[in-house]
Symmetry: C2
Subunit: 365 residues, 2 copies
């Protein structure tokens, strides 16, 4: 098996970083669009054969080192009784957003092995089909992100309605986040039982919160979900885009094995911040950088690998790949990682250059 991903997540020596891309099973691939033309998004999520098919596509077509199960973070709120529609162009919508404690009280408890068995089936089927070629990643949305969608009813620019709940009805917010933390944690454990070899928590709307609210509401719930997931015994990746200022707090609170780095954060900065926590890092090329000419993509990818350094780095984009990206440009990114080599000489040189950094930085403004 190509176990580069697992080794990098454990911070073991690797000759090059593993590489995969968020949303790698997606619309930029014509092979994906061909499947999508035959059935809607949620049907694809709920049909293990279809989910397996598109999950496998980027392994062969793009050459990534990991598969991530095709699904959506909003399947959890749906399992709790919310009516979900997912139309391309419009985005996900809940017909019955949560606005009061009564709405929250009506949510069903989630037994993922029952209500979400279709995703667990998809994981089992994909794991068999992969036949140990590359590791399989499961995932779930983090509590705050799910709560934000459930309260707003849809994605918005500022999530002002969801944030209003935090300020006006903090008790309701804490209750909802607690329910979600337990549901999501248990869901990730079930995914590992079904074959996921790594799991990732996406707190996609972490960036909608100011530091106080992130610390008070989002982070404790994220930590609770991550810690439950860790009990399943596989590496846990936590990705909270827009909260680059909180990387150290996220690492400390979640005990995650790896922290996703968004494209706002300079890799060297992330590395220095996370150094004391002994975690791996995943990221972080700006998805828009794949619009550049392929030679430029290669140059930027190599600069990124160099900046993250030889230990505990999983190469990825800093956000999902864009639907209008040319597959050749995605391949240019993946190939640039695959051709990289952390030779002993290069590792020595990297340490000679970078190990001096912290002392020169002490006392800088």
């Amino acid at each position: 098996m190509n176990d580069l991903l697992l080794r990098a997540l454990r911070r073991e020596p690797v000759s090059r970083p593993p590489v995969w891309m968020m949303r790698q099973a997606g619309r930029y691939l014509s092979e994906y669009r061909a499947v999508r033309a035959q059935s809607d998004f949620l049907t694809m999520c709920r049909t293990p054969e279809l989910a397996t098919e598109v999950t496998l596509q980027p392994i062969d077509l793009v050459g990534v080192d990991a598969a991530i199960i095709f699904s959506d973070i909003l399947v959890v709120p749906e399992a709790m009784g919310m009516s979900l529609t997912l139309d391309e162009g419009v985005g996900p919508q809940f017909a019955n957003p949560l606005r009061s404690p009564t709405d929250v009280a009506r949510l069903r408890p989630v037994e993922p092995r029952e209500q979400l068995s279709y995703m667990l089936d998809a994981l089992r089927m994909t794991r068999r089909a992969l036949n140990d070629r590359v590791p399989l990643i499961g995932f779930a949305g983090a509590p705050w992100t799910l709560a934000a969608y459930m309260v707003e009813g849809r994605g918005t620019k500022q999530f002002a309605v969801a944030k209003r709940m935090l300020f006006e009805q903090p008790a309701m917010a804490h209750h909802l986040l607690g329910l979600l933390a337990d549901a999501v944690g248990e869901f990730l454990v079930a995914q590992v039982e079904a074959g996921a070899q790594v799991v990732q928590l996406f707190d996609s709307w972490a960036g909608a919160l100011a530091p106080d609210e992130f610390r008070t509401f989002a982070l404790p719930a994220l930590a609770r979900a991550a810690q439950r997931a860790r009990e399943a015994g596989v590496p846990v990746i936590v990705f909270a885009p827009g909260a680059g200022w909180a990387l150290d707090e996220i690492a400390a609170a979640t005990h995650a094995d790896a922290i996703g780095i968004d494209w706002h954060t300079a890799p060297a900065e992330a590395r220095r911040t996370l150094e004391p926590f002994g975690v791996a890092m995943q990221g972080n090329l700006d998805p828009c950088a794949l619009y550049a000419p392929v030679e430029e993509i290669r140059r930027r990818t190599h600069a990124m690998i160099e900046a993250f350094g030889p230990v505990g780095h999983v190469a990825n984009l800093g956000h999902g790949i864009l639907p209008d990206m040319q597959p050749d440009h995605a391949r240019a990114f993946v190939n640039a990682v695959r051709e990289w080599e952390w030779t002993p000489a290069r590792i020595d040189q990297w340490h000679a250059t970078h190990d001096a950094e912290p002392s020169t930085l002490v006392g800088a403004p």
Copy 2:
């Protein structure tokens, strides 16, 4: 005259911070909505009597310490020949977005004293009407933000089309940003001639850029516009929300008198980062925090003032006030600032508590 704003921007002693709110002349006020019901947004911008009327409203109704002229950042691209529509609900749109160097070549040079004379007239009329009660702020959009709208044709979540230009057509991007820097810089100078006593540059989409592109494209153009504006001799405020990681670089490159702080950034963090640059700071309560009960707004506002400290702070929100905010909650924020008092004893205590900070931080991860 109430010159608290000017004194705080010069980092002179003040008994309390001045306070104003971005979008303070806006939809949260029923008096604004009454004017808006009679004419569309752009007509209000282009009619000095109407612009003056709504600019003055929050002075009396909310009690802020500054007026900011009612206008829109997109009047500059419009003056360059782009066809602008501004519909509430949809947001601003250009019928003819820029997609090629030929499109850029067709842009008209801006002579603000001609094409934008209506805004200069509004400034003159407002300044007379204010009769020195509070200072008058002029403003303009920063080059990157204007370019992003001009290329996209409208506001978007990721500005992927505009960013694509940076990666695919960097020469066109630099040319466009240069044109805009000159136009905006000259516009701000003309605003000062017409009576603006402070000017602010809004780089509202700074946060759409990763560090490399911010440094390569947005920051040099922002700096060029800010430096031209400074020649007019009044304080220049630069606000680049979403680029909190770059506060020091923005201060160094723009030589601005004050840096706007968005609500993502903790005030104490901003203060420590900007300390070596001797600039004032403006911000930064999360606009959503005004949904909290008024007593909680008061508590948070006081905590914010304490965290920014006694020197060079202009109290503001960290983004525009939300259109559905209750005016009483806006007043609770403003009143909390107005009741604050930086007594000599409180200032001494603040220094005793905070001056030790930097040395304890040296060497921290």
